[in-house]
């Protein structure tokens, strides 16, 4: 797995693909982090609807992100209904920022290449 922080990201002169993290770059995990970064906490049911994922699929992605310490999972109850909430960590916020910056840099290079040909 490539870490954005460890790899030569776009900010330190390496190729922008070095700034992409395998954990974060996966489309659905990028979606989870993007939504989590927009709020204090996000409920799993909202993530499932917004990303159009099955419960099992979402659960696997959440486990990967939690293991990488990019999110925290909070389980609780609202009345009698069990609810699971996701909270992005500072590490997750930094990884998401680095990923988006790397994507922007890739896009800039791609557009520059197309303009030059």
């Amino acid at each position: 797995m490539t870490s954005n922080a460890a790899a030569g990201g776009p900010g330190n002169g390496g190729h922008p693909t070095n700034g992409l993290s395998d954990t974060v770059h996966q489309r659905n995990r990028l979606g989870i982090l993007t939504i989590a970064a927009e709020a204090d906490r996000v409920e799993v049911a909202y993530l499932r609807d917004a990303l159009e994922l099955t419960a099992g699929n979402l659960s696997r992605h959440l486990a990967v992100l939690e293991e990488a310490q990019l999110i925290q999972i909070e389980r609780g109850y609202h009345g009698r209904r069990p609810k699971t909430w996701i909270r992005i960590t500072a590490q997750g916020q930094a990884a998401l920022t680095a990923e988006i910056e790397a994507l922007r840099e890739l896009l800039r290079r791609h557009q520059g290449f197309r303009a030059g040909t």
Partner: protein
Amino acid sequence: MSDRWSTTPNSGDAPGELLASVTALQRRTRAVRNAYWLPLLLFGLLMTAAAPLYVESVEPPALRAGPENPALTGLGGHFLERSAALGWYWLAALIGGYLLSLWWYRWHGVRVGVQTPTRPYVIAGIVGTIVGLVLPIVLRYLLLNTGAVISTGTNWLTTPLLGISNRGMIPHLVIAAGLLVLARLERSRGLMVVATVYVAAIVLVTIYFQTADFEPGDLNRHSFLLAALLPAPILLVGGGIALLNTIRGRRDQ
């Protein structure tokens, strides 16, 4: 680009498409969690409900030093006939308004599944209310009890602030502080625009009172009322538009 998050395999590898999807997700999540119509309408209504306390029974003198009221009524100003009642009203209204907004955001967050951080908003409300109570005392001390150097040097700030305080408009500033913090927490341009126009209205009223050279008789029974009520329609209209947008957005889903 569709607003829905595409999960089709091999469709999202292009950086441009991924970035566009990220932006669409951010926009959608913000729209879902935006709930600022309630604090806008609530504080607009609380301001309107305070109107009778700003009306004088007779034409006020240009500058009236009111009776000594308890420190907890400091939000009610010093020029007004019903300063004490207005002070108690605003103390209860600000505490109640912030608590109700806090409950609303918690409830809305649980309902839609996306929670807005509210701690900085509540802190803005608590600190704003405490500062609002202490500020008139500090301002009067700075203007009247300090040496000429300090008094003259801080005059540019203390005089307009004391004017706002004396007209019972410190609560308007406490509300402004909360709304500006909320706009940042919600990452809402709409709320930022409403809060900025609202602050501009308070500044305009202050400039008018600071620059007008009032003679006895220039102020009538409703002068302080008009000053205090001018910013209220901004909150009510802004809240109304935000509520309509929320209803329309829900209908479109």
